[in-house]
Symmetry: C2
Subunit: 373 residues, 2 copies
């Protein structure tokens, strides 16, 4: 199987897998796809450890890293500590969370500030330094145009840089800024996403950037099967960028109760809400998302302040949900796309890749038959 | 080109075109697709006239009709006149509209009740009687399971009956009720639509109905190009059901100022709102939709009461917009899907069919190359 992206990244199947879990990254890469480690909320030390582990397990096969440096965030240019950021969280939001949890019988223990919520001006550069000590074959960035140092560094290292976009206007901006690969992510995607569906966004983005420069476009949003990969390529995409489908694999670190919710969920059980990160991101509907979307909601805080409110609460909720606490189970949520409706079994990541490849080939055959006379 | 739907409907290209405009229906049918006349808001006399015109222009080629009989509507079982329904519109909604129009310098003339807003218990049966006096090859119904008399009549006439669905649960209900074809419509679609994107909905619906009965699924939502038709078939659909793309054809009766808005619009210029019919339907964003979606909105009325409020106002707005009234131009809107972002030229409907066929074949070839070794 060959598309321009296969040549560019040295892979057999035009399937990229974003995961925060190193095991998934390695499994997908070893099965002929391309694993991408989500490196946001890592410290440089943690990232070094994870990438070294991947190197040991992929035998030189290609993989990448996704370092999220948002174009805009609270405190940008002020290089604040997590503690300084935490001071900017208004008391009413903490009270709202305490009240919401209390209505579900959950009482949050007083804990130190969640360190993963940091978003300093230098952390991106530090993570990039760590990343380039490893043989990564792709750097990706979400949430706006990558910072110039990231683009320059990737060019200097000869590694393609990819950026996520949810609208054609953003695609044009990214191509003009010099990115090598676009990941056009439809509204059905898990995590941060825009309003436009994958079916429309892919051809619209390809059309919009054509006059500027030839840049491969990966399709993201809702893709959890090989037939959807095939659809993406029919739309003109160079391949598929996936995330949700790996959350219910054997390797994934998804909280066990959340995995059960995902397996039971239909495509209508997700919601695009600002309640987790401060920017619209798609996640499982739960008492948590309902509350932030309700008329009583105080409104989400800008990134990264909302995470300082949501992450400690939701991580604690996960631990209680796992112990069978019914209030916590109502609150539990995680990022996932509408494709969750097609995710019905726990499987090894490798098997998911193989099944997607088979389903991809069958879909291509179905289409070939439809155009025959 | 052949898919099961081509055999079933006697067409060459698995492309169905929904339009309220008889000229579009005939043009698509004559070009090798399948035109479907949207027959809601017709009187029986008007429908007879339109279908007779189509018969004269398609030389025996196949076409169909879409008769919208909602499963639920205000006054159901009471067989109310339009005037009786109009009495159920609360004064605050009329005041809201008057205020909204006034803010844009528009004053609605006092006019008799809009007759197209009728939704009696017998109108569907009357329209069906008219329809079956003509050689239709498909009956479609939106907004819930078709009434039993429609299913029975279609079976007796030997004409397949199709139903629109926006969720897998609805698909299961429809198949159990006996429909012959499902039209699975993604959230990117113009007009009434659900929350699930086409990319996810098609495989999810196919998977859900498989254990019940083999029913062809047409993909709808966002499809305005041949590459998207190809994507739909890769997803497992039997063909594509389209609507928006015909609104900017030469034949369409779309208000001229609205056509200009559509040509200029990107995929982000639509919104899913209850402000036009009382049920969520996708349409161009405008001052009208903004107002109904704003915190000051009194909320939409149930179907068909909302149409009694919105249609006279928006039809009058169209006439003013055409004369260059800037307030009316801000308010003007019409149903259209996110695919509007890919609709950039006015073309004859026939040319649209031919271009879609060509683009469809090219997309299939692209996919065939991607799976080759």
């Amino acid at each position: 199987m060959k598309t321009p992206i296969c040549e560019m990244l040295g892979i057999e199947l035009p399937l990229l897998a974003f995961s925060h879990c190193r095991d998934v990254v390695a499994a997908v890469t070893n099965a002929g796809g391309f694993g991408v480690l989500g490196a946001s909320s890592h410290t440089p030390e943690q990232l070094e450890y994870e990438l070294a582990w991947i190197d040991e397990h992929v035998d030189g096969r290609p993989y990448g890293a996704d370092i999220v440096v948002p174009e805009k965030f609270e405190g940008k240019g002020q290089n604040l500590t997590v503690e300084q950021l935490a001071e900017r969280v208004p008391a009413d939001r903490r009270a709202f969370v305490d009240g919401l949890l209390a209505r579900h019988g959950v009482r949050l223990p007083a804990e130190p500030v969640w360190q993963g919520g940091g978003m300093s001006d230098t952390i991106g550069e530090e993570l990039l330094d760590v990343t380039f000590r490893h043989p990564v074959k792709l750097i990706a960035n979400a949430l706006g145009v990558p910072p110039q140092y990231m683009i320059d560094r990737a060019k200097a290292e000869g590694v393609p840089i990819a950026a996520l976009v949810g609208a054609k206007e953003h695609a044009v901006k990214q191509v003009n800024a010099g990115v090598d690969i676009l990941i056009a992510q439809g509204t059905e995607a898990g995590g941060h996403c825009g309003e436009v569906s994958t079916m429309v966004l892919i051809p619209e983005v390809i059309e919009a950037i054509r006059p500027i420069r030839e840049v491969p476009v990966l399709a993201a949003g809702g893709i959890v099967t090989g037939r959807q990969m095939a659809a993406a390529i029919a739309l003109g995409a160079a391949g598929a960028w996936t995330g949700s489908v790996w959350l219910t694999t054997e390797e994934a670190e998804t909280a066990p109760y959340t995995v059960q919710k995902m397996l039971a969920a239909s495509s209508r059980d997700t919601v695009r809400s600002k309640g987790r990160t401060g920017k619209p991101s798609r996640q499982l509907k739960s008492a948590w998302t309902d509350a932030w979307e309700s008329p009583d909601s105080p409104g989400a805080l800008p990134m990264p302040l909302q995470s300082l409110v949501s992450e400690p609460a939701l991580r604690y909720v996960d631990t209680l949900a796992e112990k069978g606490d019914s209030g916590a189970q109502e609150l539990a949520t995680y990022w996932v796309g509408q494709g969750v409706g097609l995710m019905n079994r726990v499987r090894p990541a490798r098997d998911v890749v193989y099944e997607m490849a088979e389903d991809f080939a069958e879909a291509a055959e179905r289409l070939a038959l439809a155009v025959e006379d």
